[in-house]
């Protein structure tokens, strides 16, 4: 079930919130767990048992780590949890990728497994790992309640698309949290804005990208417009979903970490990754990069660590070579910045902005391509290597038709709207007007989103495949 769907907005969510708010404090976690299982089971009626099995395994092995602390049993339980969790992820997500490549490079013909990917397995596996690693490191106490641990892993607001919430960040909130009107109002605001970003911007930009892919007469202008549109589509899609998750969390009394902070205003790729999918970046930093030695080691080792982390980051996004290339592309850029580029671009802000926009546009063309060769061919065409025509009637038609949305998306990807609203609110009288009209604006926005959802079947969600 997608957040941006009629069944979620008008059937599931109202019922869950009513049950949650009416439930006594001691029963709220159980209500949330049941709702989360229903939410997951709605999309994955069979795989809900796989997820419950994973949770039971992690729960028991977590208790094992605690029981056999400082003994061999501690390590056995820890590694068993890590291997089984990663093994399940590898099996469901990467098995066919390995088989395809083994067949390709050895000439063998192993049959493909063709197993459906359980929704959200990449996200919940990382949450499971964060819990078990932190228990093993002694950073958090083992969770003795199965219901509480299961609630943490299955929590529907962030179950299928993040942010990757770490157990340590919500440990206390899982047991003791408050749901008061300020949190609910903030959550509503955040949720509706995220919904608007997803439905009114990302989905419409997605239509533009679909027209581009279907075009038989691609031009230079169309290639670049597509690169801009697809970058913004991915940003608004994913950040919109994160906003909705944070908003829902707030309505339920949780405070999840921010996942995006205007990444396209960055002046370097180093900064870009501090602003883009922050929960994933910090997860890899804390659970892969630093354990590998981080930067406190020799330069070659440090470069190796960066290389490994970014290859894995790319691979996490999908079992295709273009995702690995996408991760390595960023890894190489980060190494170049680390070695010499960063100190130069930090002095020249404008150059830094242009550089970031340029390399990120290219990166999302790689990200969105169906294969590595198609990504390469797209990039070549963007630089007129194949003698691509400059523009055409078709290109201009779609640019005109989607121009306003593209412009809105570009402005919306900067802090400008937020700064303007804050500025306007400095005037006491205007602030009062805003206070009165804001809920009305939100209702209108929700109505418009509903109108788009009712009308359209075009409602893909990009991060489902992760």
């Amino acid at each position: 079930m997608l957040f941006s769907s009629i069944p979620f907005l008008f059937y599931f969510l109202p019922c869950v919130l009513i049950a949650y708010y009416l439930a006594p404090k001691s029963a709220k976690t159980k209500v949330l767990l049941l709702a989360s299982l229903l939410f997951y089971g709605w999309g994955e009626p069979i795989y809900v048992f796989l997820m419950l099995g994973t949770i039971l395994m992690v729960y028991l092995l977590g208790l094992g780590i605690e029981k056999y602390r400082d003994g061999i049993g501690e390590k056995l339980c820890f590694w068993a949890a890590v291997i089984v969790s990663l093994g399940l992820l590898a099996f469901f997500k990467y098995a066919d990728f390995f088989l395809i490549n083994v067949n390709r490079f050895t000439g063998a013909s192993f049959p493909l497994l063709k197993i459906a990917l359980p929704i959200g397995i990449s996200f919940y596996t990382f949450q499971v790992l964060s819990y078990i690693i932190d228990v093993y490191r002694g950073k958090v106490a083992v969770q003795k309640s199965f219901v509480t641990l299961a609630t943490y892993i299955t929590m529907f607001p962030q179950l299928i698309a993040g942010p990757i919430v770490r157990y340590a960040d919500v440990e206390r909130q899982l047991i003791d949290r408050e749901t008061h009107f300020s949190k609910i109002a903030y959550g509503i605001r955040r949720f509706i804005l995220g919904l608007g970003k997803k439905v009114l911007i990302a989905n419409i930009l997605g239509e533009f990208c679909t027209h581009f892919r279907a075009s038989e007469e691609k031009t230079l202008v169309f290639y670049w417009a597509y690169a801009i549109a697809v970058s913004l589509q991915i940003y608004f899609d994913f950040s919109g979903y994160s906003d909705m998750a944070i908003g829902l969390g707030s309505m339920l009394g949780f405070q999840f970490m921010e996942n995006f902070n205007y990444p396209f205003i960055s002046k370097s790729i180093t900064e870009f990754w501090r602003r883009w999918h922050m929960s994933l970046g910090t997860w890899f930093r804390d659970y892969v990069y630093i354990p590998l030695g981080g930067s406190r080691c020799s330069l070659p080792r440090n470069l190796f660590n960066v290389f490994v982390v970014w290859m894995l980051t790319g691979f996490w996004h999908g079992a295709e070579w273009n995702f690995i290339a996408w991760g390595l592309y960023f890894g190489i850029l980060l190494i170049i910045e680390k070695l010499f580029l960063l100190k130069h671009i930090e002095k020249k802000r404008f150059v830094g902005h242009v550089y970031v926009l340029f390399v990120t546009l290219i990166s999302f063309v790689i990200f969105d391509a169906e294969s590595l060769s198609l990504a390469f061919s797209h990039i070549m065409e963007m630089f007129d290597v194949g003698g691509t025509p400059f523009t055409s009637v078709e290109t201009m038609y779609y640019l005109e038709s989607y121009g306003f949305i593209l412009l809105m998306a570009i402005v919306g990807a900067t802090p400008l709207p937020k700064v303007m609203v804050e500025k306007v609110k400095e005037n006491t009288n205007i602030r009062r007007v805003v206070l009165v009209f804001e809920p009305i604006v939100m209702v209108v926005l929700l109505l418009v989103v509903t109108a788009y959802l009712v009308d359209g079947s075009f409602n893909p969600f990009l991060y489902f495949r992760f």
Binding site: P45, A185, I188, V393, E438, D455
Partner: protein, 369 residues
Amino acid sequence: MEKRKIDMIYSLIVGTFVLGLSIICWLKPADDISATERRELTQFPKVSAETILDGSFMEKFETYALDQFPMRETFRSVKANIQKYVLGQSDNKGIYLAEGHLSQMDASISDVAIERSVNKLSSVYNTYLKDTDTNVYLSIIPDKNYFLAKENGYLVYDYGELYDKVTDELSQMSYIEIRDLLAIEDYYRTDTHWKQECIVDVAEYLVDSMVTGHNNSKSDYEMITLETPFYGVYYGQAALSVEPDTLTYLNSDVLENCLVYDHENQRGIPVYDLNKAIGRDGYEMYLSGSLSVITVENPNASTDKELVLFRDSFGSSIAPLMVEDYAKITLLDIRYLNENMIGEFVEFDSQDVLFLYSTSVLNNESSFR
């Protein structure tokens, strides 16, 4: 006002709205059909362990929730208007509004579709017509985009190229050009079809081109306009505020006496079925719509000539206007009739045979499979 109170009011306003809509969603009785979209709406799916475990219940429920959403038509209209007038988007899923007409953008010629269409018509010609004394003609009806798209900045393919491709491949048929006889006013504003009252000259020209010594002194038609509004095929898809069309049909003594037979269902049918005019697709009133084999016999004909009309839906409204010059017209829709069965209905010897197809059918990959 303190922040706590503001947050409370805020939450209550939005919450009440969502809850209100949610309650209506749960309680609203399901509608059966969508008149504007001309389709049945999804009903609440069957609940069983099997449908839940295989996910089909959830899948169907999502369609049900969309189809049965309260004030669905209003929401769709809100979306269409915002898309056009606020976001400035030129079309809505390919449907555009220009000069008061709704039309479906068709930007490219499908080589696959043209090849399939041409192969199908060639195959019929080679199987049934090649070695007969029949006079075989071809005419192509331009769709509305021919008149609307380019002038209003919408994407459109090169009609000249499509006409050349089809006529070159079907050069064994005598081609009758009718584009100059048509204008955008000859089509319904909300539908893809032409209006019967506007194509009398087209019918006469076609007959003129086929019948030597054709008598032009026709009986006058009585023009009857129905009061029921006609929501064309684009009306529901566009969801924009456009006035519906009206249906008009032309009647005459000759037509009143014609005998029409639906061979598919083995029954006599009227030339104009007024019950269908108020049905899902009002255009089906002309010869009862998409039937695979129909014969129209004119007992008062002064000739024994016969016409075999290979046609799409455009043929339903023009065929009655050609009946005065023939003793019998056989309408064949080979999109729904197996090619091998044509011989069961028509024995080809010296009839006039007209292949009359619209560009929208010829350029559609699913027309002739």
